[in-house]
């Protein structure tokens, strides 16, 4: 691990200001991903700004009937929150499908959104990776790609975003609240928060340098049957091959997003119009233009079949 300096911030704006002062600084909260990456020298921040003391760890109702989830609310606490369990079941289920109990106790809401890909080539510093080392190339393309993206990738990167929580946030139309060094705040719709890789796979979110997430808000409850289904090679503690987050209303309308298939939670609103016609039609819209590799072409079939099972479960 590279030597680094460390400070504790005492307000969100001060944290953002500190980050702006020190290029290459990283915020650290749960550290469940960042510390691993630092040990492997995939992340080499010169400075860490500990945001754990910022008191952004409560879940509160918003004036419009939604929920405001502090950036530091731990995954375990969020999954167990009675309001989340009652009104946003897909989120609670997605959280509990992720990682392990120990990790969820530590991992935060903002950190979960910001976790980095699990592409094995990203994790091997001997191999070229445009995400780790911009311009070096992508060893994953043409390599072992079972876990990797089937849609939305580029010639520079076919990594996936590993989060379960973010897939549920996407289907719930969450908004990411941030603060910058000058104290300015902004609200970023989750749809715009994660980026596709394009030519710059190392830039993963809409956050500006130094910008700090303070909360994630959920709009007022949308009701419906809420399902999160994660398909993986073992029963627990594994990243999704494909996951499906769905909210299905009594009339058959609804929303659906996929995890494990792209560089971001994958949702195509236009495809949701097909929901009353069934999974095949929805999947066709969701996955139009997919470019799977040999190792992961099965994800297209798997996504459609899993979606069908989820819609059947939601209707029952």
């Amino acid at each position: 691990m590279k030597p680094f300096t460390y400070e504790r911030a005492d307000s969100p704006a001060a944290a953002a200001a500190a980050a702006e002062r020190q290029p290459g600084a990283r915020f650290i909260a749960g550290g469940t991903n960042l510390l691993d990456l630092m040990k492997l020298e995939i992340e080499t921040p010169a400075h860490l700004i500990d945001v754990n003391g910022l008191k952004l760890d409560s879940v509160e109702p918003t004036p419009d009937g939604g929920l405001r989830i502090g950036a530091l609310v731990r995954n375990t606490a969020l999954a167990a929150d009675p309001r989340v369990r009652r009104d946003y079941g897909v989120l609670s289920r997605a959280l509990l499908a992720g990682a392990s109990g120990q990790l969820r106790n530590k991992a935060t809401t903002a950190g979960n959104l910001l976790q980095r890909t699990r592409c094995p080539y990203f994790y091997d510093t001997n191999q070229p990776c445009n995400k780790r080392q911009p311009g070096s190339g992508c060893a994953a393309i043409g390599g072992y790609s079972r876990q990797l993206a089937v849609i939305g990738g580029s010639d520079a990167c076919i990594a996936t975003h590993p989060s379960d929580m973010a897939v549920a946030m996407r289907v719930l139309d969450a908004t990411v609240e941030t603060v910058r060094a000058d104290g300015a705040t902004r609200r970023i719709p989750i749809a715009e928060f994660h980026r596709l890789p394009g030519d710059t796979p190392h830039i993963e979110t809409a956050l500006m340098p130094g910008e700090l997430i303070t909360a994630v808000t959920l709009p007022k409850p949308v009701g419906g049957a809420q399902v999160y289904r994660k398909v993986r090679d073992r029963a627990s503690y594994a990243f999704a091959l494909v996951s499906v987050a769905a909210v299905v209303q009594r009339d058959g309308s609804g929303r659906v997003a996929l995890g494990g298939v792209a560089h971001k939670p994958w949702r195509v609103e236009a495809a949701e119009a097909e929901m009353p016609r069934g999974a095949k039609a929805v999947a066709a819209g969701l996955l139009a233009g997919a470019k799977p590799a040999h190792d992961n072409a099965f994800k297209l079939t798997l996504a459609e079949r899993t979606l069908a099972a989820v819609l059947a479960e939601a209707r029952s």
Partner: protein, 730 residues
């Protein structure tokens, strides 16, 4: 003690301590975190420096240039060891690739340098400053592509009768090809070593299954006398064959300590477990079986192809087929190709595990073709003698009993032989079974036993306990022999200053190491009898006393002020030539397959084992359920994924190389048949640690087939291999 005639009645047969489900005597140390593992010997070398291993970034080629200047100047750096400055090194006969590579590179992540620094973090930070330019060369990384160039192995083929003619004439035949992937040991504790030099004497505290092999190979590699090397390894956090040999951690710690002039500890970082240490090589296996319509096998052929580095051995996947089923016409052999992947070597049940994964699917397929129940098909083809030599019987062979008892206990009769018919909600449910079969290997093993004036018995042997329970069964053996309770026995293991044992591997540890302790205890009993002036044959050792005629003397008193000590070992004659010694079992599995997603979840497992005397049913059961768990991993998820362009295993950590978690493992049941095998040793025991793995994968595969009707012949059976054959959803 020479063991060359079958055992008769001996003190072990009393079974007052042996055979009891005793808790592990080292359990409290482990559960309280006070058992010292290799990287934790802080007290013996408080000034130890830290080594960080740099692995090659290419699979094959040469180091063109190596620039250490920036790293040497980094904070805390004490020394950097490379092949350039390490001095002349030999190579142990058990290593194929050299453990410190350069300039020639033989495989990915072959160690090319060790950076030694004051702290672990300094060593790691400095390591990234080492600049290495490589000149890569073309390598061979694809077994299927290299198969054509494979050669027969030195052992040669086993040919009996006329396979080709009999197979052609058989009315019912099967000819199928199966594949097993490269697998990692994925043990929890990485390889780790602390090395300390005192003058020209070297001591390594390490994590190793075979102490004497490691002393031998370390001294050969360092070109120093064996007597000046001491290896200490009392606790091992999992080995599974990955720690049978000298590996880079021990060699580099020794070299690093020599270069630094102070103790050095080296733990192999997790990715090195995958690409630097050994793995189980992948196999491609072709099996042909011919049978009469009533299910009698007339011809059987099993060929297996695997690859390895030059000098590496083949995966002996077909060897069990020589012995498992009858059939007068046989063709069985292994082939090996040269591959430039990391070195392949033993992983729990080497050869047997992947071989049985293939053979026992083939038997299931053949039963289906014959319209026979797969249990019945196996029973019809049982043999009580070596099929290649009818004059050579099995010492014990209760395969049929295992199969029948298992079928009854598991509810096999409820299995629908028509696949894909049983549903439970969204799940397709199936039952599968396989035979289990692993040989009993005899290896000499010695021990020293001391009796002190307090009546305390101390056993010392370089035997290791890799989590298997060696401490406990050795204590049980000594307690039984000396007629004392377990509280009067201390066991010291894993130190090359103790007598050389069988070590831990090949499920030979339990029987051989306890037989060695038995031999030493017989000698100690003689010494006690002699001191008391009685004939040892007349002396009874029980309840902490020696009883001979009218005399009854406490053992402590018999020991005298200076105590008594005896050393002996077990050595075997030709009982393993006259008899085939093997262990047998039957695995039964219920698996459910999600009809939409193809996710496979095992629901129930049963193993029935016939493995000689079970020395401790509790630790033996732990061995078997651990093996069954490993078998589920092999069946459903474990695979080292190869990048065939660059020649390495891509999924190089425990997030990418998945092994079963608790949620994957359902109810497991183990039944041991009441068996003793007087031909195996005075303990009348055999091994179970690998038997429990052999066949499990196939039982899972057969259950998946019964559930879905899809026959997968390429392990692991991941959902993508069955997905497009599942019923429509909804």
């Amino acid at each position: 003690m020479k063991f060359d005639i079958p055992a008769t009645t001996n003190p072990i047969d009393r079974l007052t301590v042996v055979g009891k489900p005793t808790d592990r005597i080292d359990g409290p140390l482990k559960t309280t975190g006070t058992a010292t593992y290799a990287y934790e010997w802080h007290d013996v070398a408080p000034n130890a420096a830290y080594g960080w291993v740099i692995g090659s970034a290419i699979a094959k080629g040469r180091i063109a240039s190596l620039d250490l200047e920036a790293a040497k100047a980094a904070p805390g750096v004490i020394a950097i060891v490379t092949a350039d400055n390490a001095g002349p090194l030999g190579k142990g006969e058990r290593n194929a690739a050299t453990l410190l590579g350069g300039p020639e590179i033989e495989h990915y992540q072959q160690a090319v340098a060790l950076v030694v620094a004051e702290t672990f973090e300094q060593a790691r930070a400095a390591a990234s400053l080492v600049r290495i330019d490589y000149a890569p060369a073309q390598g061979a990384y694809d077994l299927a592509a290299a198969k054509g160039s494979a050669e027969k192995t030195k052992a040669g083929d086993s040919v009996v009768g006329d396979f080709t003619g009999a197979f052609a004439a058989a009315p019912v035949t099967l000819d199928q090809t199966y594949g097993t992937p490269d697998e990692s040991h994925a043990m929890m504790e990485p390889h780790a070593t602390l090395a300390v030099w005192e003058g020209d004497r070297l001591t390594v505290w390490t994590s190793n299954q075979m102490i004497d092999w490691t002393v031998t190979d370390l001294s050969e590699t360092l070109k120093m006398p064996k007597e000046k090397v001491r290896v200490i390894s009392p606790f091992i956090g999992g080995g599974f064959g990955g720690k049978l040999f000298l590996r880079a951690d021990a060699l580099l710690a020794a070299l690093g300590a020599r270069a630094a002039g102070r103790p050095v500890k080296v733990g192999l970082q997790r990715p090195l477990m995958i690409n630097n240490t050994t793995h189980r090589p992948a196999t491609i296996q072709r099996i042909r079986i011919g049978a009469t319509r009533d299910g009698t096998i007339t011809a059987i052929a099993h060929e297996s192809w695997s690859g390895n580095l030059p000098g590496g051995a083949e995966e002996t996947a077909t060897d069990q087929t020589r012995l498992l089923y009858a059939g007068p016409n046989r063709l069985i052999g292994n082939r090996i190709a040269t591959l430039d992947l990391p070195e392949g070597n033993a992983l729990r049940a080497p050869g047997e595990a992947p071989g049985m994964m293939a053979l026992e699917i083939a038997m299931d397929e053949m039963a289906e073709k014959l319209g026979l129940d797969p249990v019945e098909f196996r029973i019809r083809n049982d043999t009580q003698t070596d099929p290649a030599d009818p004059d050579r019987p099995f010492s014990q062979r209760q395969l049929v009993q295992c199969l029948r008892i298992g079928a009854e206990r598991f509810g096999w009769s409820k299995r629908n032989p028509q696949p894909g018919q049983v549903r439970d909600g969204r799940w397709l449910v199936g039952l599968g079974m396989a035979a289990a079969f692993r040989n009993n290997l005899l290896t000499k093993s010695a021990a020293r036993v001391r009796l002190d004036r307090n009546g305390m018995v101390t056993v010392e042997t370089d035997m290791t306990d890799i989590g298997t329970g060696s401490y406990t069964i050795i204590a049980q053996t000594a307690a039984e022999m000396m007629g004392v309770g377990l509280d009067k026995v201390a066991v010291r293991l894993g130190d090359s200053s103790f007598p050389v044992s069988a070590g831990s591997g090949g499920q030979w540890g339990a029987n051989n190491s306890t037989a060695g302790v038995y031999a030493a205890c017989v000698k100690l009993r003689e010494a006690v009898a002699q001191r008391l002036g009685v004939n040892s044959a007349d002396a009874r050792f029980a309840d902490g006393q020696v009883v001979a005629g009218n005399r009854r003397v406490p053992l402590a008193e018999a020991a005298g002020a200076d105590g008594l000590s005896a050393e002996d070992g077990i050595e075997y004659g030709d009982l393993d030539k006259k008899y085939q010694q093997s262990t047998f079992g039957a695995h039964y599995v219920e698996a459910a397959v999600d009809s939409a997603t193809g996710e496979i979840r095992v629901r129930r497992m049963l193993a029935v084992c016939a493995a000689g005397r079970i020395l401790n049913p509790k630790s033996a059961r732990s061995q078997v359920i651990g093996a069954m768990t490993m078998g589920v991993g092999a069946a459903l998820m474990e695979e080292l994924a190869i990048d065939k362009r660059a020649g390495f295993f891509v999924n190089h950590d425990l997030a990418g190389y998945e092994v079963p978690v608790h949620a994957d493992i359902p109810h497991q049941e183990v039944i041991f048949l009441d068996e003793t095998d007087p031909i195996s040793s005075p303990m009348k025991a055999k091994g179970v640690g690998e038997l429990g793995l052999c066949g499990v994968g196939a039982a899972v595969a057969n259950a998946v087939h019964n559930a879905t009707g899809v026959r997968v012949r390429e392990y692991p059976i991941t959902l993508d291999k069955i997905l497009d054959r599942l019923p429509a959803v909804g």
